[in-house]
Amino acid sequence: MINQQNVISRGVRKIMVGDHAVAEAVKMARVNVVSAYPITPQTLIVEKLSEIIDKGELKADFIRVESEFAALASVYGASAAGARAFTATSSHGLFYMYEMLWWAAASRLPLVMAVVTRTLGPPWNIHDEHTDLLAIRDSGWIIGMASSVQEVFDMTLTAFRISEDERVLLPVAVGLDGFVLSHTTEPIYVPYQEDVDAWLPPRNPKVPYVIEPGGEPITLGNLPKSDLYHELHKAYMDESMSEAKRVIAEAYNEYGKLTGKDYEPLVECYRCSDAKYLAVTMGAWSGDAEVAIDELRNEGYQVGLIRIRYIRPFPDDEVSERVNGVRGVIVFDRDYSMGFGGILAGELMGLVPSNVSFKGVVAGLAGVDVSPGEFRTIIRDFINETEANGIMRIRKWWYIPNTNGGD
């Protein structure tokens, strides 16, 4: 119910853009070390945090680095020395971090990063798509994707709880759509600082370990005597990912008690209970898809929407239980794996039984707008075709809007 503003039990109403909601959450989490490098559309985050720290509203160190690689490396170092640390980036910046992303995750240190999603060049393009965020999905980061400015704030704040939980100890990436959320103003509810402090105490620097002069002479990352240690390490990481599902659920449950905000943890379902067909989306365009669902319901179609909130850990059970028994599932990807198709469609298709109609739609790349009307047409066509011709199993279908020659 992302378009409805739930009543908050305690807190204040503020108006801000998505990037500033990230900065606000980082401030309220009392982060100790921040480092980030400017890149559109993330830049508002690094600017706002610089300002907040400069004004003394957040007592933290801001490290003005020379690259995104250095940004992640420095907050990684800060986390290794016991600090609560944060970074943010987009697109090319995220890809410049790539090596460090894997090292950070496998070091089992808590970290939070905002990823303001943006297309990759060439050509240069600062507009929204989700391919950048999804390209880190194998690295060991927990990955969430918000759909409103309120959720950007909530997801950033809960990320620290999730990442620092001893059952998890994996870094968390919070995705938000470039411009659509990052630069769009919405009213949001912000909890009181004292409530946040009680819910999110300062990080225990000794968990999982701390690298400090005069401290325990531990060595992180030297060659393993047996490669089996390394393999086991991967298996343990994956186990923690599974454990993270429970931790995410607990975190939102407690956060809900604090703020009155109710989220289903990994996926949210809109008008699903009696749905015979389900659409699947992730991120800000889910709001447009919901409008399409409402219109289709008015036309008599029994259709609902699954919105992916966390793609890692992968919400397999959560999606499976909802797609079982429906007649068709249509997945919208604002991302691609070249030579394969939409990434969500590819991952989810295996959860959809073969006697259920399936279509993967690649759309909205490079910031191309997809309107509620377009969602409605694509979903309606899918349902009508399935009803007329029986099940289809199409993993990849490119939706390119007709520009009539364009300009």
């Binding site: 100790n32 070390v33 480092s35 160190d61 490290i63 003005r64 680095v65 020379e66 690259s67 690689f69 250095a70 940004a71 490396a73 420095s74 907050v75 990684y76 170092g77 800060a78 986390s79 290794a80 020395a81 016991g82 600090a83 640390a85 090596e99 460090m100 090292w103 620097p205 690298i211 400090e212 002069p213 005069g214 401290g215 325990e216 002479p217 531990i218 060595t219 992180l220 990352g221 030297n222 060659l223 393993p224 005597k225 240690y229």
Partner: protein, 304 residues
Amino acid sequence: MVTMSELHKYGRTKVIMPGTAACPGCPLQIGLRQLIMALDGKLTLIIPAGCSSVIPGVAPYTSFTVPVIHVPFASSPSVASGLVRALRARGIDGHVVVWAGDGATADIGFAALSGAAYRNEDIIYVLADNEAYMNTGIQASGTTPQKAWTTTSPRGKTEGKKNVALIMLMHKIPYVATASIAYPIDFIDKVRKAASIKGFKFIHLHAPCPPGWKFPDDYTVKVARLAVETGVWVLWEYYQGKLTISPPSAPYRDKQRRKPIEEYLRIQGRFAHLSKDDINEIKAMVDQEWDTLMNLVNALNYHA
């Protein structure tokens, strides 16, 4: 100045435990021992990819007696920046030391190094320079000397050696020095002086590598000493805006007192292919480096 008796005392202390994976005659092992002695073991090491990723030995064991974090190749100055900021915020003193090779420093990690230096992060950065990518099997780096053989410069390197220490001096950081594993008293004193200063400290440590330079395992110190005695490697220190030639190198300001460069070149297989002309060219390059350095000494000290 550190005394010989103090060195002997440390010699009996195991700052590095048995079981390292270093090659016989490894200069990094010598340099690391001196470094840890200098700081009385009160340090944290940040080690990027390179020979020193292997030297501590295999997990779950380590031969090092200090906390160590191994990090990706280009990342050590950045990791150290974040680490030291977090430590200071938590009220923890103690030295954060990057121990990096020439590839990590002069090449792949150079942007991160420059960034951390210009921010004047409170780090001691030691470039342990064995003059090539030795861990991957002897490939030319930005600090491999001109004409030296490596597997990627089979007929001798065509480019010169980056003077990393002078580049760092131009970052206007509080302390820059060069050192050699053959001069422990000089190196230890420099580390200790660096440790007494807040901000970014850079020490370029010359570290001859037996398999990489192709000389016998027991010649490591001899080759390092000859580099200084022939004037190929100059020990100097930059502190409080003043550049000084360090005592072991001071006599060699006078060219006549330097040993013939051939003595240094001829015991290394990597220079075996050199012609007489090549050697003369190297001599001219060494003279030019000295000229640059002495001009800089005069220029900087004029203002200091």
